[in-house]
């Protein structure tokens, strides 16, 4: 059973000169759809191509060109909506958002203002064991991305690359339910995780495939609860929107800075202007984007080039039936099925590939042991080499084989680490490594007794001490293990030492 009883985390509080302030944050996350071709043209979406090579006449807005929608992109938006437990609108429509900028050749972005394809949903953002924020999703709509302007290649000119122009984005709009910088980062991480499970967005923030506009305001303790009760935004402070951030670290820093900036204004008796701001990572500050102010008059109107987007309930149902197990469910199952701790289950389900890897290792084996080996040994080793789970030199089958060797008593946990290291670096079979390197655990009583007797005979003084202080048994066990190259079964050695010393 899925345990969904969580407490809400406390909001972030900043103490000002005139008392405490709380943060209220809403986000617009732009997620690039993991499609091969663009939303309304057949040009490629591949990242890092030669400038202006992934551009069709539609993307360049040549006269007479008409947009034709990529059905796969629509499917991914629906899929994402279903993954966020959201309402799917069978009829949605496209609108033009008009503004001038060199990287937008059409002079408008095709978006969905009035009738988005996805309505209200929710995301559970865990902030610790038993602690989670339920962030309400207001809507998801489909829209075109703009091109890229480069300002540092020439002192007098800006260079424009339209490769990104027209790539499909899903804009995921949250309610102002996020209450601190850490929650904001955790919210993005959760969206990213869900979309990677769904396969709808690769979540690559560095390439700009996932970026966020963050709305920040501050209020006094108690005000937010009044807003929740009444739905009246008047209880909240004036918000500022920080545009286009693609780093979790910067998002947190920007929120922190922006909240303090607003508090300083308010405590000085001033008022916060509702405006668009940019975060400067070098200075750690947000600053006003004055030029955007006039552009806010977007003069939206229904796009005359596109009919309404009508989809069928059966199609939506088929997509719903094809959804994979999502992070929350997978984590709950790992806890119940494999007996993992909350923490281990979180670590293993953070990434869908890691979760799949673990399940292969754990299949038919000891789940807890598998979790320990994947998290402590494998993840640790991969991290050392800067590798992702998909690049692991040791596969799930081989790691599973090592666990089997331990379970069967063929090798001790300590020897297993040696075997792991050899298998990891050389790609050899664990069983073969144990055989060839002579690492098999000695369980033969005769051999162990002989080794114990030898150590006892060589250390009469220690034997005297051990009879008075039984804790010294450990020292003898250590000597025997050393003498046998770690291959003796530690439990058998311990028993034999105790018996021989008469303890």
């Amino acid at each position: 059973m899925l345990d969904l009883t969580f407490d809400a985390p406390k909001p972030k509080v900043i103490s000002g000169a005139t008392g405490d302030w709380e943060l209220v944050i809403g986000m617009e996350v732009h997620a690039q759809v993991a499609s091969k071709a663009k939303l309304f043209s057949g040009a490629s979406t591949e990242f890092g191509a030669e400038p202006n090579s992934n551009v069709s006449f539609v993307d360049a807005a040549m006269p007479g060109m008409l947009p034709v929608i990529n059905e796969f992109c629509v499917e991914q938006a629906v899929r994402t909506g279903l993954g966020l437990k959201a309402q799917i609108n069978l009829v949605s429509a496209f609108d033009r958002k008009n503004y001038f900028y060199p990287d937008l050749p059409q002079g408008y972005q095709i978006s969905q203002l009035y009738h988005p394809i996805v309505g209200e949903g929710e995301v559970l953002v865990e902030m610790g064991p038993g602690l989670a924020r339920r962030v309400r999703i207001e809507r998801i709509h489909i829209e075109q991305d703009a091109g890229k302007s480069i300002h540092d290649m020439d002192p007098h000119m800006s260079f424009v690359d339209l490769n990104r122009t027209g790539v499909a984005l899903m804009e995921i709009v949250s309610r102002p339910d996020i209450r601190g910088p850490e929650e904001a980062a955790a919210y993005i991480a959760k969206l990213r995780q869900i979309m990677r499970y769904l396969g709808t967005c690769d979540g690559n923030m560095q390439n700009g495939n996932l970026r966020a506009d963050v709305n920040v305001s501050v209020c006094r303790p108690g005000d937010y609860e009044k807003y929740l009760e009444t739905g009246d935004f008047g209880h909240l402070g004036t918000r500022c929107e920080i545009k286009n951030m693609n780093s979790m670290r910067f998002i947190q820093a920007a929120i922190e800075y922006e909240a303090r900036r607003q508090i300083a204004i308010l405590e000085d008796g001033g008022t916060v202007d509702q405006e668009t701001r940019l975060f400067d990572p070098d200075k750690g500050e947000t600053r006003s984007m004055r030029s955007k102010e006039e552009a806010h008059d977007y003069r939206y109107f229904p796009c005359p080039d596109l009919l309404p987007l009508e989809i069928e309930q059966e199609w939506v149902d088929a997509i719903r039936d094809s959804l994979p197990e999502l992070p929350d469910e997978k984590k709950a199952r790992f806890i119940t099925e494999f007996g993992l701790s909350d923490y281990d289950a979180s670590v293993l389900t953070a990434d869908v590939e890691a979760a799949r890897f673990f399940e292969k290792v754990a299949e038919g084996r000891d789940g807890k042991m598998a979790a320990n080996w994947v998290i402590n040994e494998l993840f640790g080793r991969l991290k050392k080499d800067g590798l992702e789970i998909g690049e692991s030199p040791i596969g799930a089958e081989r790691l599973g084989a090592i666990i089997e060797l331990i379970s069967r008593g063929d090798i001790s946990g300590k020897i297993a680490k040696q075997v792991f290291e050899i298998a990891y670096t050389t790609g050899r079979e664990p069983a073969e490594i144990v055989e060839t390197e002579g690492l098999k655990q000695v369980t033969d009583t005769g051999a162990i007794e002989a080794a114990v007797d030898e150590v006892i005979a060589a250390n009469p003084a220690q034997v005297e001490k051990a009879r008075e202080n039984p804790k010294l048994v450990g020292w003898f066990v250590g000597q025997v293990m050393k003498a046998t190259g770690g291959k003796a079964n530690p439990k058998a050695v311990n028993e034999t030492v105790r018996a021989r010393l008469g303890l």
Binding site: A37, E50, N70, F100, M153, S291, E310
Partner: protein, 95 residues
């Protein structure tokens, strides 16, 4: 709603169309005539009538997710007043 000279100037600016000062009053009055016509349309009672989006009963045309276009940098840039190293070069725009 009435459009004054300033609003006409604002709309022209948003559309990046240069309108000389002396032409603004005429433009404003033209806007007002258009809006007057719209207001007249607004008098029609359309309660319960679904908006018609197309005169033919068509479904929005879809295409599969296949790359069929692009790879023509030269053609794309051929109308640009200035292009360098594969980019459109435009007067500097910095936030």
């Amino acid at each position: 709603m009435s459009i004054d000279k300033d609003t006409a100037a604002h709309v022209a600016r948003l559309a990046r169309i240069r309108v000389e000062e002396e032409d603004l009053p005429a433009l404003a009055s033209e806007f007002n005539r258009i809006l007057g016509f719209i207001e007249q349309l607004n008098e029609v009672d359309v309660e319960g009538v679904e908006p018609m989006v197309s005169v033919t009963p068509m479904r929005l045309k879809r295409r599969p997710d296949v790359v069929t276009d692009g790879n023509m940098q030269e053609k794309i840039l051929s109308n640009a007043p200035d292009a360098r190293e594969g980019f459109f070069a435009v007067p500097k725009v910095v936030e």
